[in-house]
């Protein structure tokens, strides 16, 4: 059985893209919390984090539903 099958490759690409997203998300959160003046950037960072977490969970669940064998 080959290790380089399609589901494994796609999962690897997906994991890489999600990692890149969360790295970008970290930069947004870091800038808002560190450089933001006043309370509104902190509130904004919480809204961004909540939305990102929710959407990431949905994306991961939908990725799990994909059937690469029958594509």
């Amino acid at each position: 059985m080959s290790l380089l099958n399609l589901p494994l490759i796609m999962t690897g690409i997906f994991a890489f893209v999600m990692l890149a997203y969360w790295l970008g998300a970290f930069f947004i959160l870091y800038h808002l919390i560190r450089f933001g003046v006043g309370s509104s950037p902190k509130k904004m960072s919480v809204i961004f984090l909540a939305g990102s977490l929710l959407l990431s969970i949905v994306v991961v669940l939908l990725f799990g539903q994909l059937n690469f064998i029958h594509l």
Binding site: Y21, G24, A25, F27, I28, H31, L32, R34, F35, G36, V37, G38, S39, S40, P41, K42, K43, M44, V46, F48, G51, S52, L55, S56, V58, V59, L62, F63, Q65, L66, N67, H70, L71
Partner: protein, 193 residues
């Protein structure tokens, strides 16, 4: 809830704030300057609905609904990121007028920040310019602060209510003269914080 008090209690703290320094004016560009980019994101959010209506039957027939739903959610995740990227850059481009100085913060990307400051005692003249129909209707414009000693100008871009801001800066600048360059907001309650 003391733990979460930083969400609603603020002393307008910022990096490099000096002891006893108080924020008098905290300014951003007018919201209209980012409205077009926000509108593009809102319009882009409707694109998957259009695709679903136009190609729904084909997607079902070809058994591609699972991959379409995955791409839809991924697309929304990306839009969410870009929306907050725009808001973050907007938020970090600010002008802070304190009782000691004026700070001009420019953020052009995650790793491109420029900060300039001007002592209140160096302010010679403040002027504003409202240019164009939209700027006049929406009441925003550019403020220029002329400094003493050199030709350098401090420029506040697309500030809401520039006339009021100009007047406030002039009041602060006038009051610091003869007070060792420090503005006391308690002695000058007419300046709104």
């Amino acid at each position: 809830m003391l733990t979460f008090s930083f969400f609603n209690k603020t002393n307008y703290t910022f990096e490099g704030k000096k002891d006893g320094e108080q924020v008098i004016l905290f300014l951003h560009r007018h919201w209209w300057t980012i409205a077009n980019r926000i509108l593009i994101i809102v319009i882009a959010a409707f694109a998957p609905f259009v695709v679903a209506v136009a190609f729904g039957q084909i997607l079902i027939a070809q058994n591609l609904m699972a991959i379409f739903a995955f791409l839809w959610a991924s697309y929304y995740l990306l839009l969410w990121f870009f929306l907050f990227y725009i808001l973050t850059i907007y938020n970090l481009n600010s002008w802070i007028v304190t009782n000691l100085r004026i700070i001009d913060q420019h953020q052009r990307g995650f790793f491109n920040q420029e900060v300039a400051e001007l002592s209140l005692v160096n302010i010679q003249d403040v002027s504003f310019k409202m240019e164009g129909m939209i700027a006049t209707m929406m009441n925003y414009g550019n403020i220029e602060v002329q400094t003493a000693g050199n030709d350098q100008k401090f420029r506040f871009s697309s500030i809401p209510n520039p006339q009021h801001v100009k007047d406030e800066i002039m009041k602060i600048a006038d009051s610091v003269k003869g007070h060792n360059g420090v503005f006391n907001p308690i002695e000058n309650p007419q300046v709104k914080q």
